[in-house]
Symmetry: C2
């Protein structure tokens, strides 16, 4: 059997109606609304076919139909294709969404939180955003300073001006000269290096070059190396998790508990971010419907993610989690708008 033009129209009508009402939609409803004038009986026949083909489901014999994951997938693909076309006109529209314009925030953290909040408030779904991830991270600058006699603070600046600190306790006092030498050694050796390339061999070589006072220097080098290597886990900010309670199909204890846990533990969101980033070259926006989601606790949700670019090779992810019957149209626009706004903002600054 084949998805002819009429079946497509009917399918889309069913899905749209369901998105509106949240209730199973019957044949009569469609027969009335639709521009192709058909009786409910005809619609019923077509619906039966659509059920056979797996696009829709009837919860029980005498209820209307609701979209299956496959149905949603069809709808979303359709929608994305349309968006692709419209993108140029849209871009030039004066947008009413300016309300969500992000005020200038001095700190990245605050900005990200604000974005998440804006996103959840605008869509009524749960939102998340990951701090930008440095793909090929290079070392830009290292500075050791003596804090107290036997305590050094190391400041490590990475490409993208991300800063790490490390306090190093040493066994014996270190004199200014040694400290200076150490600073030079570290900077000449490591600056511009990708973190992945800082191997044991490199570290060993540095220790060797240290010559005298090898003991204390080795101590410091090890501490610095460790600090560089330690990749902190991805910062993720969330907002509007409580929105899930607005959708009865997600608000039962078990599901809600799962989603809340995912939002609190962040572990699963981290997976989601990596998944998205690994696909980011393809398209920009990803839609996961139900089982498609790479996250266990979101099998009953739809997840929409997108990648934003802060700078060459520095990416982050924003995402929306909601019920399968989410307003995909609005979500796609919002998320598209927001990513481009983010991109602009970073490029400007």
């Amino acid at each position: 059997m084949d998805l002819d033009e009429r079946k497509k129209k009917i399918l889309l009508a069913i899905i749209k109606t369901y998105l509106d009402t949240g209730e199973p939609v019957g044949s009569r409803t469609i027969s009335k609304i639709e521009d192709l004038n058909l009786s409910s009986a005809t619609i019923r026949n077509e619906m039966a076919d659509l059920v056979d083909m797996g696009y829709i489901i009837q919860p029980h014999t005498s209820a209307g139909r609701i979209p299956s994951d496959k149905g949603y997938r069809f709808y979303v693909d359709q929608l994305m294709a349309e968006k692709e076309q419209q993108v140029e006109e849209r871009e030039r529209e004066t947008d009413e969404m300016r309300g969500m314009l992000i005020e200038k925030a001095d700190k990245m953290e605050r900005l990200l939180k604000q974005v998440a909040r804006s996103l959840s408030a605008n869509t009524n779904y749960a939102a998340m955003i990951s701090a930008p991830r440095y793909n090929m991270n290079r070392l830009k600058f290292i500075q050791l300073s003596r804090m107290e006699a036997e305590r050094i603070v190391a400041v490590i600046v990475l490409e993208g001006n991300m800063i790490k600190n490390q306090i190093i306790d040493i066994d014996e006092p270190i004199d200014d000269e040694t400290l200076l030498k150490l600073n030079m050694l570290l900077n000449t050796t490591l600056n511009g290096m990708a973190i992945e390339d800082i191997s044991l061999a490199v570290i060993a070589k540095m220790k060797q070059q240290a010559g005298e006072q090898a003991g204390i220097i080795a101590e410091v080098i090890d501490a610095v190396a460790e600090s560089i290597k330690a990749d902190e886990d991805l910062e993720i900010y969330t907002s509007g998790a409580n929105n899930i309670f607005k959708y009865p199909e997600l608000a039962d204890n078990e599901r809600a508990s799962g989603i809340i846990t995912a939002f609190e533990e962040k572990k699963q969101l981290t997976d989601l971010v990596y998944e998205t980033l690994s696909h980011s070259d393809e398209k920009g926006i990803q839609v996961y419907i139900g089982e498609e989601a790479p996250v266990e606790n979101m099998k009953d949700c739809s997840v929409v993610t997108a990648t934003y670019e802060l700078d060459e090779g520095i990416h982050g992810t924003i995402g929306i989690i909601g019920p399968k019957r989410m307003d995909y149209d609005k979500v796609l626009s919002t998320i598209k708008k927001l990513t481009s706004e983010l991109d602009d903002m970073f490029k400007k600054s």
Copy 2:
């Protein structure tokens, strides 16, 4: 009417039974369990009195009784008094709770997260912990380093080894000598100063002392001053928010949504922390029952908080949020154990 000895016993029996079962407790149950052998009829009479006095409530005419907020308050006060006595023996007990011993964590953040997780896992309630707050924060050390020609990174170390970074873009290149001078100026003037005391006057004086190159130096000083002043908002880590779904009286949409929001937004938790810190001199452990909680969304919960001390004047708060019928006994022990463990850990290091 007066709360005589027998009434107290009965009241405590009711509350304990209710904590166990979570269901309204009837007169027969008490008459059987209790050591003071009384018939259910007598118990009923006493219960009627207790209702009049406001310690217990009957949900409807023919159900058992459940404790009121006032009843819980009585119970908790009783319990805290007992604890006070036992504290010495307890302290010496070999504790079975060693399972929750915190593994050595290199980073404060990780430690705090771990504590929160341990707390929620051990109690089956929702847990939170605030990062330590520096009451009278003093400046320990400042270091400016040149990153690029017109870009400086300032590292500011506060008492308690809390570190702040700030990247400063300047208008014209700065030479080594000026940088050195600036470093000395900042350190001699500011080291050991409480942040509250860094007034405009102090800053003005520094600018004046700068002499030549006043322009560039003023720029840097302002940036540093601003960075010092900017008090980041309290970091709060949470864990086990999903535990609330284990308690039907909290798991309905409205309540759950409220609690989840409080946990996600952190704003209300921040209030809670400040409230606790402001009382921290009194006792150590605070119990808020129902309406007593300083947080709107937790009117149906009980909240137990305690203060831990990282160092003189540096405090943080840990807290547990659960249903009113929480196992106060266990929670109090757990939280007491944990704070003292935290105190020890910090004092050691």
